[in-house]
């Protein structure tokens, strides 16, 4: 009788904030212990990092209120007990981080190129852009404009590439590498799948060779060996030599990604195109490639992220990209010992670009999954 009358407790809440906490953080006692431990670690770590990066950091002035012009004036070097990061180095050297040693009078050209780059990328990134067609025309001619704008010619004073540096070089290498590697990659992918044995073998050898060696050896190849291969009188610019290496490298990876896309096209598409009497090129350009590239866009973005990160390797052959400017600043006695600040800043810039790209790739993947139906039936 007693048992029958026992009052049961209501079931444990699984909704609302309490329910969420219970399921995700305090499900059982091990889980709760882990949660408490992690919270404890974060409690130790987060205030410290916030203090270092923001609250006791110097941005332009030190704690005495003086404007910082060298590392000795940083708060933490004046008084080790007081002060965190010294971001003043970024503030003072900001110009070099963004433009390198580009002449100050001409810097509007770089700024204009940055803005134009954003407009050129818009139609590529966002398919529903109004007037996309006209924007795309601009995208096609943008490389030419950018070349004359940055390098000079057509009435602009020439700015030699050894004055370029920082983010400018990083973006030039990244964008040019990706843009040039795309058509070469398509050709290589088609070549590798070609029925002509010689062409297929040559493309395969090229792709596998490039993918089998590290980028740094290709950069050395561009820097040390390329001048030996060319006849006298042709003196290639350092940046161009590096670009050749980066493009070769990226096109091999691009080719493999696009080949993956080509393989996903059902054979019926080829047969249908051929039965309409299309030639090889018409079939590929009008039927196969548009579909193959569309499904390989997410992996293309991923290899592009890889390339963007790999552009830092050019510092080894003496080109001053963002990281190179950072290292150069550290070698300056005025800013000795500020390595954490500088590397933090450079990492942050790279992180913003690459994380943005990877988010974009995820968004595309989601869109592709729901958007198209690869008519395999």
């Amino acid at each position: 009788m007693n048992e029958m009358n026992e009052v049961r407790k209501p079931p444990v809440a699984t909704t609302g904030i309490i329910g969420w906490l219970r399921i995700n953080l305090f499900f059982n006692w091990t889980n709760s212990l882990i949660t408490l431990f992690v919270i404890y670690c974060l409690y130790q770590f987060i205030p410290w990092i916030l203090d270092w990066t923001i609250f006791s950091a110097d941005f332009k002035y030190n704690y005495l209120g003086e404007q910082i012009t060298n590392q000795e004036m940083c708060s933490r070097n004046l008084d080790p007990e007081n002060g965190g990061a010294c971001w003043a180095v970024i503030y003072v050297r900001f110009y070099q981080f963004i433009y390198g040693f580009y002449p100050k009078v001409e810097v509007w050209r770089v700024n204009l190129a940055y803005v134009m780059l954003a407009f050129a990328l818009l139609p590529l990134l966002y398919a529903k852009l109004p007037y996309r067609k006209y924007f795309l025309y601009f995208t096609y001619i943008f490389p030419v404009i950018a070349y004359f704008l940055l390098n000079g010619g057509l009435g602009f004073t020439e700015v030699s590439t050894n004055k370029w540096g920082g983010l400018l070089v990083t973006l030039v290498l990244g964008c040019t590498g990706i843009a040039l590697a795309f058509p070469i990659g398509i050709m290589l992918a088609l070549g590798r799948r070609s029925k002509l044995p010689v062409i297929s073998m040559m493309c395969t050898l090229f792709i596998e060779f490039i993918r089998g060696v590290p980028l740094i050896t290709l950069l050395f190849f561009g820097m040390v060996m390329l001048p030996l291969f060319l006849p006298e009188g042709i003196d290639m610019d350092g940046l161009v030599r590096v670009l050749v290496a980066v493009t070769l490298f990226q096109s091999a990876y691009m080719a493999e990604v696009i080949r993956g896309g080509l393989q996903a096209i059902p054979p019926g598409q080829y047969e249908a195109a051929k039965s309409l009497g299309m030639s090889y090129w018409r079939m590929n350009l009008l039927i196969i490639l548009p579909q193959a590239i569309r499904i390989s866009i997410p992996p293309i973005v991923n290899t592009s992220i890889g390339l963007f990160k790999d552009t830092t390797l050019v510092i080894i052959v003496g080109i001053l990209d963002l990281l190179g400017i950072g290292r150069g600043t550290l070698a300056d006695t005025n800013w000795l010992g500020l390595s954490y600040e500088i590397y933090f800043f450079v990492s942050l810039v790279f992180f913003i670009f690459t994380f943005g790209m990877s988010r974009y790739s995820l968004y595309l993947e989601k869109k592709l999954k729901t958007g198209i139906n690869m008519g395999a039936d």
Partner: protein, 387 residues
């Protein structure tokens, strides 16, 4: 219907025509490159041929744990030291990255929201910051450690300073070879026991304590032998003399920076691969194994991981290849690997760029091919076997 160029629309003819054209153009380009190169080499007085490999290198290599290296040794020896250093950092990096990556991949799927978020943040940060930057950052942290005189002491035998990690060097005395033979035999026999036990379990259903017997074979038997032979192993401790340590085993900060950066960077990628692999195993598998009463740990070991491995191994292979190729970035911190030692210093000293780069590239290609070969064998062994 046939056009005037009838023979040109013939598929066979066209195929031969285009291929000959391509081969011809390629040969022409090759001939052009070779002739200009030989002209350039002659003009710049750069020697050709392989005889430079026998010349004394004339520089020192600070980190060469396997081969004794003096500046009078040849460039060929520089090459071998470089290959060994590349392999050392690649192999240790691959092992550490795999272990860390698997742990993180599993933790990422943990039901604890905080823990899985924390791993997510780690993965995003280490994937999205260039590896070279990470290597340089680790190196700059390591060389800001205290100087030798104020070096941190761990457990009384390890010394950590800005010159690296000093630890006691084991000295193997005459009897130790028996112990190593015993360890080797124990490894082989435990492998055989494992196979036998699996076969027996398949046939009769009886289980054999493979794990504990292997542990016993591998650790306890050699240990007993070790003491019977009178502990034929002693340690040479590092001692502070003047400005530096003498003796002992030293691990240079260049190596530590490379090892940390490579394994932490690659582990982030591996953890994502592992996560995708585990998530690819359908939910029904987990539910079915829970329904037949398997414990959580057994579900993971016997049901989930073997199926996930099929998805994990191919991309894991390419991560190993990437790590090996990325080990070439040691040049940024002065780690004397293949690219820095042979492709960098030797190349600059001899000026024979073509030969040096050819050797370096060929070596990387063969390392890559070897890794792919073994991983392909492993991949085949874990794929579905139709019975």
């Amino acid at each position: 219907m046939r056009s005037n160029l009838g023979f040109f629309s013939d598929e066979k003819f066209r195929s031969i025509f285009f291929q000959t054209l391509v081969v011809g153009l390629f040969a022409l380009g090759l001939f052009f490159v070779i002739s200009t190169t030989s002209y350039n080499l002659e003009k710049r007085n750069i020697a050709t041929g392989w005889s430079f490999l026998q010349n004394p290198a004339g520089f020192d290599i600070s980190f060469s744990p396997f081969l004794e290296f003096k500046s009078t040794d040849t460039h060929l020896k520089v090459y071998f030291v470089g290959v060994l250093n590349t392999l050392l950092v690649s192999v240790t990096g691959c092992i550490a990255a795999t272990i860390l990556g698997f742990i993180l991949g599993i933790v990422r799927l943990s039901s604890n929201w905080l823990l899985s978020r924390l791993v997510y943040i780690y993965v995003e940060f280490s994937r999205n910051v260039p590896l070279l930057l990470q290597i340089i950052l680790w190196y700059s942290i390591l060389i800001q450690l205290p100087r030798v005189k104020q070096s941190l002491q761990v457990l009384d035998v390890f010394y950590i300073s800005n010159r690296g990690l000093y630890s006691p060097r084991p000295i193997f005395e005459s009897g130790f070879s028996y112990v190593s033979i015993a360890i080797l035999l124990a490894l082989i026999s435990s492998f055989l026991i494992n196979r036998w036990a699996k076969k027996r379990q398949d046939k009769t259903g009886q289980q054999f304590p493979v794990f504990s017997s292997s542990i016993g074979l591998i650790f306890i038997v050699p240990l007993i032998l070790f003491f019977i032979l009178g502990s034929p192993l002693s340690f040479e401790h590092p001692e502070l003399k003047g400005f530096n340590f003498k003796g002992g085993l030293v691990i240079r900060p260049e190596f530590i920076a490379m090892f940390l950066a490579l394994s932490i960077y690659t582990a982030a990628f591996i953890s994502e691969i592992v996560r995708a692999g585990i998530m690819s195993v359908s939910k029904g598998q987990r539910e079915a194994s829970a329904a037949i009463g398997l414990k959580q740990t057994w579900i993971m070991r016997l049901i989930i991981i073997p199926q996930a491995l099929r998805v994990i191994v191919p991309p894991l292979t390419s991560q190993y290849l990437n790590l090996t190729k990325n080990s070439s970035l040691g040049i940024a911190v002065g780690y004397a690997d293949l690219v820095h030692g042979f492709g960098g210093i030797s190349l600059n000293q001899t000026g024979q760029a073509i030969e040096c780069m050819a050797i370096v590239m060929a070596t990387y290609l063969s390392i890559s091919l070897t890794i792919s070969f073994f991983m392909n064998i492993y991949n085949r062994s874990i794929q579905f076997k139709e019975k």
